[in-house]
């Protein structure tokens, strides 16, 4: 599983990163978590509001810092 955190590196993106790491750890899934800070890449994925969360190529959340609990649910839905 490939997870991307989109955002220029502001506080919100860092928080989302932490929450995602927590979710992955708790679920014990095999996943690579990437940080995408490049605006071009963010734009290509069609995200207008950062931070964005992408799981296996799909934008699953944008413009908000979601809790680890919600991220777990998104990961489970994806599997």
């Amino acid at each position: 599983m490939n997870i991307k955190i989109l955002g220029p590196g502001c506080k919100n993106c860092k928080k989302l990163m932490e929450n995602t790491e927590e979710a992955v750890r708790d679920l014990n899934v095999e996943a690579t978590i990437e940080k995408v800070e490049d605006y071009g890449e963010i734009a290509r994925l069609g995200v207008l509001k950062t931070p964005g969360l992408v799981i296996d190529g799909d934008v699953v959340s944008e413009g908000k810092v979601i809790a680890a609990k919600s991220i777990k649910k998104l990961i489970v839905d994806k599997r």
Binding site: G7, Y39, I42, A43, G46, L48
Partner: protein, 328 residues
């Protein structure tokens, strides 16, 4: 009318809080309100608590409205208007968008890449951090209705004129273009989603700005009671013809939300600094700060970047002189 005045005093000016803090300072801390320490402590506690209460209420309310205007919808709305009206709508929609300037860059890319005129996008980008409903309500609480209406109207005019001039200059090639994905359908939000979103926004913004607010209140308290009035008037007072320029330049390196500038502006007004000078200072802090310019320079290059900074700088200074001249 009497009732309205009472509501205004209690709800927006929070006179009850003023009295409560006065009691705290005199009764509990045993400091006299006529001493410098007592006054400073009062200013600090009262302003901090007042800003935090207002911030929470206002952001919740604004976020709720905002949840109806995600950037995708704004983009579509703007795509449908033609000509000069585009700048006006762009500036107006800027009042309803996220407060964080870190999210304005992806929005900027999304707008320009989808073919919206660069100037319309700039109208949006100028008004977005500077004018919004939250700042309107906060300003009203601190300085009354007249000042807040002036601030919002002038801010919108700057956004409209700035965007218009940028299109006239025809510098669209200086915008870094990106390919973008096609629009996703918008999620239907339930009432609960919107409320959750608003609560989340309050938390986020609170976390982001509390330090700036404390910093602002601290500086405000210094100006209020410790820095000699003569020093402030000699630099920013009416008799110094460069007061507006100085205020604008001082504001540039400072990066803060309007919430952090309020206590400083409040203290300056109390020291007799003119409204125009204060407007320039506030606008320079929120709309022309170095950190946000650095962020913007990633997507806007060369002459366009220079033009943007120049327009904002001159515009803010003109606004300051205009209002000092009109003596509002």
């Amino acid at each position: 009318m009497v009732f309205f005045q009472w509501m205004n005093d209690q709800l927006f000016k929070m006179t009850w809080l003023y009295d409560l803090v006065e009691w705290l300072v005199e009764g509990v801390f045993g400091l006299s309100m006529s001493s410098r320490i007592g006054e400073s402590v009062h200013f600090f506690i009262y302003d901090t608590v007042k800003i935090f209460i207002l911030l929470t209420a206002v952001i919740f309310f604004i976020s709720y409205i905002q949840s109806y205007f995600p950037p995708e919808r704004t983009k579509r709305l703007l795509g449908n208007v033609k000509g000069f009206l585009g700048y006006v709508i762009g500036a107006l929609l800027g009042t309803l968008t996220p407060f964080c300037s870190c999210s304005s860059i992806p929005i900027f890319i999304g707008f320009t890449s989808s073919g919206l005129p660069v100037g319309v996008t700039f109208s949006f980008l100028i008004s977005s951090p500077m004018v919004d409903l939250a700042s309107f309500i906060m300003l009203m609480s601190f300085f009354g209705l007249k000042f807040s209406v002036i601030y919002v109207v002038v801010g919108l005019i700057l956004a409209v004129v700035g965007g218009y001039i940028i299109d006239r200059l025809d510098l669209g090639r200086d915008v870094v273009r990106y390919e973008t994905a096609s629009d996703k359908p918008l999620d239907e939000l339930t009432l609960k989603d919107r409320i959750d979103f608003s609560i989340q926004q309050v938390k986020e913004i609170f976390q982001r700005v509390w330090l700036y607010v404390l910093g602002g209140v601290f500086i405000g308290a210094l100006i209020h009671n410790w820095i000699p009035e003569s020093l402030i008037t000699s630099i920013l007072g009416e008799d110094n013809p460069f007061a507006v320029v100085i205020a604008t330049v001082i504001g540039m390196p400072i990066y803060a939300d309007i919430f952090g500038t309020l206590p400083i502006a409040e203290a300056l007004i109390a020291k007799g600094v003119s409204v125009g000078t204060i407007l320039s200072f506030m606008m320079s802090v929120v709309a022309l700060s170095l950190p946000s310019l650095i962020m913007l320079s990633k997507v806007v290059k060369g002459k366009l970047m220079v033009a943007f900074v120049f327009i904002m700088f001159v515009g803010i200074i003109l606004i300051g002189y205009l209002f000092n001249f009109l003596n509002v």
